[in-house]
């Protein structure tokens, strides 16, 4: 502990110093402030964690550390000194000489940030060769070494492939190699693992941490995930609405956060519903095989039982068949074999063959509330539609019911005439919940409904869902990849992997040993709020 807390002073001279940075962004025909006077100091070899929710300005601040303002943004005032050079006064050309040589950037989505038209190794060494740091042959040889250090498979040849030919986790590591190729003094990691599955995230985190340590590179690590940043950073700065909330050494920040806001950042992880067993099965999926088209089979012999008035969470990585299961239940994708039994009766496989009442009883809420609502309709129209369709409500009766529903989702009557574009992310998701409730369903399928939301908003939505379940006895099928959410809301858990059910059981059974191999891998990959978690995990794994 003592050596760690001395880390800041011991690692060297100041590399980057940002003072009173103010950044504006242009939207809706006017300038808004995104970053409001933040200071930032980084020494050589240090890793700073920059955390906050979406809109906190962390990514904008991270790019500003390079003297770069993305299109539609401008650095209004402040000073940025990088190793004695004033980046605010520097010309484009002078900054360009730094970028890709002394300061490197690792973007969130590696899949979108690699040029699809060029081979990976050419992109890895592009900046190094372009800046004349080394010749092409030497840089390519070094790239192979970096690929090896980052534990990429077949490091000799992986560079000759194109971006679409390798996986997301591999791309993210190659992007780290690309950043490291010119041996920069500073790397900006901008949410580098957010788009990855937890099991992949672990490998990428380890690779990035080790290589930064190996070359004693300073880094700014931007993320919204406190548990991730705890593994990577020496100290952490928390941002909110473009202001600094607090900054502290990592262990101190985790054990004794000073500000209330910082405490709420991981409050969702403290939410936990006690599990409740039930044998009254509302809906069951029996031995279902399903495929897209004729060839791509995505579900293999899937059997899931959903008890009435309980929450069953389906967890798994992307591509494990979670959302396909939802599509089978709703009838959007009729299964090849197997059936769906609802209240003891077999449901017609296809949506078109189901009765209106069968449709009414199963409702769905989606991940992207934005795209699940007609942007031209007001909240009243959106919620009113299922009332007319399923319950034939008109006029005052309908309007009264809309108000009731708004009250149920904790919004007031002023929302009735608003358009989706006038709502926040959390409010939009609430409207989608109200729309589902309007049908008076027995089962609501929630497909990653909190994945696009910030932690605090997430917590609000989960609490609302739990309350509605208690009051109206609604059954949830909750699809998610987030284990923290699963712990918070489920009674039972289904683990899926590559289109198969690994296991189903009560929360306490699934989350406690003994584990099947995959569940073990999945659960152990979920980052914990312990700075030694990653180190211990690497030691434990063979």
């Amino acid at each position: 502990m003592t050596t760690d807390s001395n880390k800041r002073g011991s690692k060297g001279d100041i590399l980057l110093e940002m003072r009173n940075i103010e950044i504006d962004g242009f939207s809706d025909e006017r300038w808004h402030d995104i970053v409001k006077g933040v200071d930032l100091t980084l020494r050589r070899g240090e890793v700073m964690g920059l955390i906050g929710e979406s809109g906190a300005g962390k990514s904008t601040l991270g790019k500003a550390a390079m003297g770069y303002a993305q299109p539609g943004c401008r650095i209004k005032s402040g000073t940025i000194m990088f190793d004695g050079m004033d980046l605010m006064a520097a010309t484009e050309n002078e900054k360009r000489k730094l970028w890709g040589s002394r300061i490197a950037y690792v973007a969130q989505s590696a899949a979108a940030s690699f040029n699809p038209a060029h081979r990976l190794v050419d992109q890895t060494v592009e900046a190094t060769v372009d800046h004349g740091i080394s010749d092409e042959a030497a840089a390519k040889k070094d790239a192979v070494d970096l690929y090896t250090a980052l534990q990429l498979p077949d490091p000799e040849n992986i560079g000759t492939r194109y971006p679409h030919q390798v996986s997301g986790g591999q791309l993210q590591r190659i992007m780290t190699a690309m950043a490291m190729s010119p041996r920069p003094d500073l790397i900006i990691f901008d949410e580098p693992t957010t788009a990855l599955d937890v099991t992949t995230q672990v490998e990428v985190l380890v690779a990035m941490r080790d290589i930064v340590e190996q070359f004693n590179t300073a880094a700014i690590y931007i993320t919204h995930d406190l548990a991730v940043v705890a593994q990577m950073a020496d100290f952490i700065k928390v941002l909110r609405y473009g202001d600094e909330v607090e900054e502290a050494e990592t262990r101190l920040m985790l054990s004794e956060p000073k500000e209330d806001y910082t405490k709420t950042l991981w409050s969702v992880r403290s939410l936990e519903k006690p599990e409740d067993k039930s044998d009254d099965i509302a809906l069951s999926i029996n031995n279902v095989d399903a495929a897209y088209g004729k060839s791509v089979k995505v579900l293999h012999d899937v059997t899931i039982n959903i008890p009435r008035g309980r929450t069953v969470s389906v967890v798994g990585e992307s591509g494990s068949g979670k959302s396909t299961t939802a599509r089978v239940i709703t009838g959007l994708l009729p299964p090849m074999t197997g059936n769906i039994v609802f209240n003891g009766e077999e449901l017609p496989a296809a949506l078109a063959d189901r009765t209106k009442d069968q449709l009414r009883r199963i409702q769905m809420i989606y991940q992207m509330a934005d795209t699940a609502m007609n942007p031209k309709q007001t909240v009243g129209e959106i919620i009113g539609r299922p009332l007319e369709f399923y319950h034939d409500m008109r006029g005052k009766q309908r309007d009264d019911r809309i108000l009731e529903l708004l009250e149920m989702i904790e919004l007031d009557s002023s929302f009735i005439d608003r358009l989706p574009s006038e709502l926040s992310g959390g409010q939009k998701q609430r409207i989608c919940i109200a729309r589902a409730l309007a049908a008076e369903p027995e089962i609501i399928i929630c497909d990653e409904v909190t994945s696009a939301l910030d932690q605090i908003v997430q917590e609000g939505i989960l609490k609302l869902l739990l309350r509605l379940q208690k009051e109206y006895g609604i059954t949830y099928l909750f699809i998610t990849h987030d284990i923290a959410v699963v712990t918070a809301i489920s009674d039972e858990i289904v683990v899926m992997f590559q289109g198969k059910v690994v296991e189903q059981g009560l929360k306490s059974e699934i989350l406690n040993p003994p584990f099947p191999e995959y569940t073990q891998l999945l659960l152990s990959s979920v980052p914990e709020m312990d700075p030694d978690w990653l180190t211990n995990l690497v030691d434990q794994r063979p």
Partner: protein, 323 residues
């Protein structure tokens, strides 16, 4: 088989199928033309029996589907038929084969089109790329405004403006003949070529610019900037390789126009191209020639679009290098 090869072959097959369907449309629409060749040639005073005999001689008395089959079977063997013109009521037959009529005209048209393309395509790529590079600058705005101006005028108007302005420098009649040397031909077609260049550059240049600027919002372009690549390098190395598909499509469209859509320019400059031949053959009800021209036009369109498709395929690394 490499998936690119199979995709290209598939497109080629589709192209042939399209051409076949187009041949049906051409045949039916020409069959629907009002008036009758026999009546046209023999005049209002001809006896019905004479007209009937003349029609029988040309095969016009057969039912349409039979005539179509005869025609398409001959076309498949490379025979476009014999022109109706050259026959007279006197019975003298000086008619020539359709190919003999079309060939010199087609070669003239292709000559004019290729020469124009040779100037217009590089010019519009250059203007488009530089405009994207200097986006929203005075240069960008003036290039945009100028090309927009030239595309906004009807082409015959542009042609006459050029004649007025450049009549002293270049000939206003482009009456090329077979015995002319290359340079003399080029000198003769300077004005029609310039007119057409002005007409097509705007479209191609704006599309090139738009395709590039559209890509500039991609994360990988920001990545390239943050790797310290210069503006030129970002455009040429990172944006352009991903922009070929839309650019090729618009170029193909304009090249096709150079072959099939230039009849007005041909008329203004009295250029003996295939467009004039087609218009003449339609007005004189010379069915085989009209059909032959239409078929060649259709084939040009299909071939050029096929080419654009192929360029789109081979510049897409996802298709070229499958997983």
């Amino acid at each position: 088989m490499h998936p690119v090869v199979s995709t290209v072959l598939q497109r080629l097959g589709l192209g042939l199928l399209t051409l076949f369907m187009v041949s049906i449309i051409i045949f039916s629409s020409i069959a629907l033309l009002p008036g009758d060749f026999g009546q046209q040639v023999l005049g209002q005073t001809a006896l019905p029996e004479t007209v009937e005999a003349f029609r029988r001689e040309l095969g016009l008395d057969k039912p349409a589907w039979l005539r179509y089959i005869d025609w398409i079977a001959a076309v498949l063997q490379g025979d476009l038929g014999t022109s109706f013109s050259g026959r007279a009521s006197s019975g003298a037959d000086e008619s020539r084969s359709v190919w003999e009529l079309i060939a010199p005209r087609l070669s003239n048209t292709l000559f004019l089109a290729s020469f124009t393309a040779l100037i217009a395509v590089p010019l519009s790529l250059f203007l488009g790329i530089t405009a994207a590079l200097k986006r929203n600058s005075i240069y960008d705005r003036s290039v945009n405004a100028m090309t927009l101006t030239t595309i906004s005028f009807p082409e015959f108007f542009l042609a006459y403006v050029l004649i007025v302005a450049l009549a002293g420098t270049f000939p206003t009649l482009s009456n090329v003949t077979n015995d002319m040397g290359l340079w003399e031909r080029i000198y003769k077609i300077a004005l029609p070529s310039l007119t057409m260049t002005l007409v097509i550059v705007a479209h191609m240049m704006r599309m090139t610019r738009a395709a590039l600027i559209n890509l500039l919002a991609s994360p990988y372009i920001e990545m390239a900037q943050l790797k310290g690549a210069s503006r030129g390098r970002v455009i040429i190395k990172h944006a352009l390789p991903n922009a070929w598909a839309p650019i090729a499509t618009v170029i193909a469209f304009n090249l096709a126009y150079l072959v099939v859509g230039v009849v007005v320019v041909e008329v203004v400059f009295v250029y003996p191209g295939i467009g004039q031949l087609m218009v003449d053959s339609v007005s004189s009800r010379d069915i085989p020639v009209a059909q032959g021209c239409a078929l060649i036009f259709a084939a040009t369109y299909i071939l050029l679009n096929l080419l654009a498709d192929v360029i789109g395929i081979v510049t897409n690394p996802r298709l070229l290098h499958p997983r």
